[in-house]
């Protein structure tokens, strides 16, 4: 700012000349302001803290740079990419068959669901018809995986809030689910069991009995988890009205999955845009409505939706087990799969939200372009808008309730 000279006023007798405004130096002003503020309030500084990538509640290697005023978060910026493994690019340099194991590693807590979507996309490109039994097996495995993933998310959320015991309780049941998948696939987390045109292994009658026992056990345990979390007074104080994502904000940021339904949007890809054989099953889509506790869109409801969805996943798995038809589990496929020129866009409901694959085939045995839409990636973004003004503890509660998996954010 330039200081213009004050025009001199001609002296008129009897009239008091207006005083020229004092020329103020910028540093003088700062000093004056500082002096004035002394005694009124302590001069404070904002603290820029690096939350992650090595932080216990960033659920992986997310790095969030937060600016805090004491405990209050004034701004935050998520930095992603620490777990980037070029899954999409690798898909463009490998034959379709060989790309599938990479998909497992995107959302490593829901590998079956990832495989399911990828296989459907490739099958749609190549026009492969999957045998009935394989379709049912896929649904059973996917729902068992969903149950395992959701109860794990619920337990880990307890850990974020500070309750350690529910985490280990849910781990106990989750481990049973993982054992089931292990028996089918031979791996605990990364299965590669859903294959193009079918599934790798058949389900034995013993496995089906064991699966029923697992679903019963989880159903029995769910109220027990709720006594430790959902119904707990401290849990409600920590999550109700915290990290509220309004309906419009959720839709605007492309939030999907339980987080979207917790904001009151009635959308589930399994019901509204069915893939595979999901249109054959009876299930409800839990949507947050006010009246449980807190307000729609808060952390409490995200947890609540997850709990309700676990019940529905059990329901779907039971129906699929009941209707499981006999027959083949793998379609006949050529040794090298060369889908004709074309493109496919397939979206599936991952436990964390809507996972989509866009694939372009150019007639060779490799895809010309593969693009994945990860639900965690979209869900993470909404944090910047919601967390402002929250406490550090609320930030942890918010991050945990979005249930992000960094493997899939970065891909």
């Amino acid at each position: 700012m330039s200081h213009e000279p004050v025009p001199s006023v001609p002296h008129v007798p009897g009239v008091v000349a207006p005083k020229a405004p004092p020329v103020v130096d910028a540093s003088d002003l700062a000093r004056a302001l500082e002096e004035r503020s002394m005694g009124q309030a302590l001069r404070t500084e904002e603290l820029v803290v690096n939350m992650g990538p090595q932080h216990p509640s960033t659920h992986g290697v997310l790095r969030v740079v937060i600016k805090t005023d004491g405990e209050v978060v004034t701004a935050l910026q998520p930095h992603i990419g620490n777990l980037h493994r070029c899954v999409e690019k690798i898909g463009e340099s490998l034959p379709y068959y060989q790309w599938l194991p990479y998909v497992d590693r995107m959302d490593y807590l829901a590998a079956i669901n990832n495989e399911h979507g990828a296989c459907i996309a490739i099958e749609r490109l190549a026009g492969i018809v999957v045998p009935e039994r394989a379709e049912y097996i896929r649904v059973i495995l996917a729902e068992v995986q969903r149950v395992a993933s959701h109860i794990f998310a619920m337990g880990v959320y307890g850990l974020d809030i500070g309750a350690i015991t529910p985490f280990l309780h849910t781990f106990r049941e989750r481990e049973r689910g993982l054992d089931l998948l292990d028996h089918v696939a031979g791996g605990r987390l990364l299965y590669h069991v859903v294959r193009i045109g079918g599934v790798k292994r058949d389900l034995s009658p013993e496995w089906i009995d064991e699966c029923h026992a697992f679903l019963d056990a989880v159903e029995e345990r769910l109220p027990e988890y709720n006594t430790l979390l959902l119904d707990n007074h401290i849990f409600q104080e920590r999550t109700c009205n915290i990290g509220v994502i309004p309906r419009e904000l959720a839709v605007g940021w492309g939030v999907t999955g339980p987080a979207l339904r917790a904001s009151g949007v009635d959308w589930d890809t399994r019901r509204d845009a069915p893939y595979g054989i999901y249109d054959r099953f009876q299930f409800e889509v839990p949507v947050a409505h006010s009246g449980v506790a807190g307000v729609v869109g808060d952390c409490f409801h995200r947890h609540w939706v997850r709990f309700k969805e676990t019940e529905q996943a059990i329901r779907i798995a039971r129906q699929a087990l009941r209707d499981l038809p006999p027959g083949e589990i793998q379609a006949k496929l050529p040794k090298t799969l060369k889908p004709p020129k074309g493109e496919a866009y397939v979206r599936v409901e991952n436990p964390r939200g809507e996972l989509a694959y866009y694939m372009v085939a150019d007639g060779t045995d490799k895809a010309w372009r593969i693009r994945c839409r990860g639900p965690s990636f979209s869900n993470i973004g909404v944090m910047t808008d919601v967390a402002r003004g929250a406490l550090v503890a609320d930030l942890v509660a918010l991050m945990g309730s979005l249930d992000i998996v960094l493997g899939e954010v970065d891909r």
Partner: protein
């Protein structure tokens, strides 16, 4: 302590030969050593107890390999921690960083000087014992500030701010609810307070007045917060602040923080028993003045405090963590008014009934 040493000197011709001052000094040092060892041992066993109980609660087993039922686990842990490198961050304030753990440690262990662990089993039978204990435990906060500030780490500073705010705030309801007993008992001497609770169970202070009954719950809650135990473990909230003020500490210095924390748990459970639950009196009218009786009294006190320790552990592994502002709300708007009210009721009771 002095009378005990005097008796010892009078009874032994050998001790009469050496100067009295030397006997006192050696005697006091030995007593300190004994208390230190005893309390460290208890603190170690409380760690084991916590790990075993939490294991049971979480469908795990817990440590059961070192010694019978894993009882010597704390020794193995201690040896492991001592063998570790003592890392000092380059940007840390070296001197303050190094001495901070010992101040925390001293704050807790000095309190045991005035805490009676049995009839006559008290290093210093102070007339203002309760006041001394509550005052000396505040020293711990100084050590925590030193540790958090000198670490020069942002998470440590956040943890330290939380800890200092919380512990200082909760000392008020803690002290005031403890004073309900002192007002009714008419003394601050912990041994006298225990002796007033001799006899049947209803002679225990917790059952003798509505003020002390409420006072006990306030005291226990405030003690949990002052000890930074869940659900008030905000200063060390591992899911938020990684480890709070001792994030940068490793090896033996970390072990000292750890030991001080568990010694603090033992201290406050013993205080709860001494103030409200009859101390070493078992709740039936028996005399515990003989040698065997004193030992039994010590066991009774230990059993009672083990019960309160279990409650602390039980609470920790069941509940989520409070948020920082709710903790302050609880302190200033719930516990403090209630403890002041309890104190007023106790004072009125003394005024109207003459104290007994």
């Amino acid at each position: 302590m002095k009378s005990f040493l005097d008796g010892l000197i009078d009874g032994s011709s050998l001790l009469q030969a050496v100067p009295r001052g030397l006997v006192y000094t050696v005697g006091i040092l030995l007593a300190c050593k004994a208390v230190l060892l005893l309390v460290s041992l208890f603190a170690g066993e409380i760690v084991w107890m916590e790990r075993r109980i939490s294991g049971r609660m979480q469908a795990r087993i817990g440590p059961n390999r070192v010694g019978p039922q894993g009882l010597l686990q704390f020794l193995a842990d201690g040896v492991k921690l001592m063998a570790k490198e003592d890392v000092i961050p380059t940007s840390a304030d070296r001197l303050v960083f190094l001495i901070a753990p010992y101040i925390v440690f001293a704050g807790v262990f000095a309190a045991f000087a005035a805490v009676p662990l049995g009839a006559g089993l008290v290093p210093a039978n102070l007339t203002f014992g309760l006041f001394y204990v509550l005052a000396i435990t505040s020293v711990e906060v100084v050590g925590v500030i030193m540790a958090g500030w000198s670490s020069n780490s942002k998470w440590s500073i956040l943890g330290t701010m939380r800890e200092v705010a919380q512990v200082i705030s909760y000392e008020m309801p803690l002290a005031i609810s403890a004073l309900t007993v002192a007002v009714l008992a008419g003394t601050l001497n912990l041994t006298e307070i225990v002796d007033q609770q001799q006899g049947w169970v209803w002679q225990w202070w917790v059952l003798r007045s509505p003020a002390t009954f409420v006072g006990f719950f306030l005291f226990f809650t405030a003690a949990l917060a002052a000890l930074k135990r869940a659900p008030f473990d905000l200063p060390e909230a591992e899911s938020e602040l990684v480890a709070g003020f001792h994030t940068e500490y490793t090896g033996f210095r970390f072990a000292i923080f750890f030991l001080a924390e568990y010694a603090g748990m033992f201290l406050f459970s013993v205080l709860t028993v001494v103030l409200f639950f009859g101390g070493w009196h078992p709740g039936v009218p028996v005399s515990l003045t003989t040698g065997i009786g004193r030992a039994l009294g010590f066991l009774v006190l230990f059993a009672k405090s083990a019960f309160f320790l279990s409650v602390m552990i039980w609470i920790r592994w069941s509940l989520p963590r409070y948020r920082v502002d709710k903790v302050m709300y609880l302190c200033y708007k719930v516990l403090l008014p209630w403890s002041v009210a309890a104190m007023v009721v106790a004072a009125l009771q003394v005024l109207l009934t003459g104290g007994r």
